[in-house]
Assembly symmetry: D2
Homo-oligomer: 144 residues x 4
Amino acid sequence: MGDEKRSQAVGECKIDVRVRYAECDAMGYLHHGRYWEYFEMVRTELLKQNGFRYRDLEAAGTFFVVYKCSCRYLRPIRYDDLVRVTAEVVRTTRTRVDHTYHMAVTGQRTTEAASTLACVGRDGKPTLMSDELWSCTTNGHPDE
Amino acid sequence: MGDEKRSQAVGECKIDVRVRYAECDAMGYLHHGRYWEYFEMVRTELLKQNGFRYRDLEAAGTFFVVYKCSCRYLRPIRYDDLVRVTAEVVRTTRTRVDHTYHMAVTGQRTTEAASTLACVGRDGKPTLMSDELWSCTTNGHPDE
Amino acid sequence: MGDEKRSQAVGECKIDVRVRYAECDAMGYLHHGRYWEYFEMVRTELLKQNGFRYRDLEAAGTFFVVYKCSCRYLRPIRYDDLVRVTAEVVRTTRTRVDHTYHMAVTGQRTTEAASTLACVGRDGKPTLMSDELWSCTTNGHPDE
Amino acid sequence: MGDEKRSQAVGECKIDVRVRYAECDAMGYLHHGRYWEYFEMVRTELLKQNGFRYRDLEAAGTFFVVYKCSCRYLRPIRYDDLVRVTAEVVRTTRTRVDHTYHMAVTGQRTTEAASTLACVGRDGKPTLMSDELWSCTTNGHPDE
């Protein structure tokens, strides 16, 4: 890949998500299991910023599966809150991508999280990312 | 298919489901959108009673998609309630199956619902059920 | 309430929702049970357009619960599709509101639905809407 | 609390959960965000084994909120798999409980996870567990 494209690689993405009623539990808080959908959404957008559509990747036989994840819930998030969700690529190899995430409501940090995704084929077995894909998931520094 | 197997076709199924915390909304009630998961579960079991595993049907290229559905919520259902969910096949053609459902908590009816499923292939286009599958979805009366 | 405000009542609302990966089933289609979350989202926004925040209504002891609903799935919706969701108030009484909904992807209608909500108090018992709330849920014609 | 009851405290719980169709993603795998519902279910049962119903605790003003969690997904889990979910209390203080979890399908470990719950009041502020509750969440060793 040329330097030009490489230098355009985007390693961070922010989206705003309005919390749905159905996502909240009996305490009126966003259920802790739903946060992973938000992180998934921001990863979808991060890929798009780099020219990839995850839907097309899957159609072409490249899948990312979550291998591990962790989350700290600092403050609760409530129904109808507008949540700023930020993802950053922090490390990558040919078969894995590490992201960190944080979330904030009206500027106050509510959540910190991290995940490791593995790149697999249609059979679920580990596979190498293409040069292009790898480049875009390396936070702009594919050669590191 | 032979009369013997046909006469064994089962048109009704009951399962018991314990309501999860995550399924309840801020009122503490089972969210109305989650009911469809319960109906899906009882359909899975109904097929099993007739010797089919939906997972295997999909692997073989036969899918059932919901074409229409309706539900009446007579009484709320709460977290940790044990819900008796009943499904019945009420009508079938070679390409569609109609089910009715009801739910009850400690013997008291909470919910009445109905759905029409269409049989489609991997491409999403309508397809005919096999004789065997059709037989088992006809409430024991495949020739009607 | 004055004629001025009444004439501002908004009976229709449109939102755009990007389909999440987690919302799709093994066929890659938006799961039929998830549609109700989308309809709930558009109702939240419809109330806002009329000056109400559902979160505040609940805090003040007014709840809307789904009493019945129905949906026709005309075409599948897929992961990453941008869905235009439209809700309209079609009928209202002091204790109930009827909405119809439709959804479209790139201009093509995918879904038609309807629901009846009941207004209840914290104890789950039917209650009358306030004049103001009733006015805004009457499609701009509160006196009909 | 008497020694008798204390010695009955149960620190581990196992449940079997059948994976729902709606819980699986486009790969046909149980979505990583849904695992937390399974862990929540087994915690509900663990409390019951010790004589508490979480629904009643909430009604009485005692809530457990997830403060942090982590999970490793060793093998995928599929629709209609029967999953054995195990939870164990590994550490407790008057305001927090640490659980570890693992999941297995047909005897093969698929998942390892951990969480820390905080005990809070209706206002979301940290609160001390009652003696009785604390005792039952201490893995049978409340005095350690």
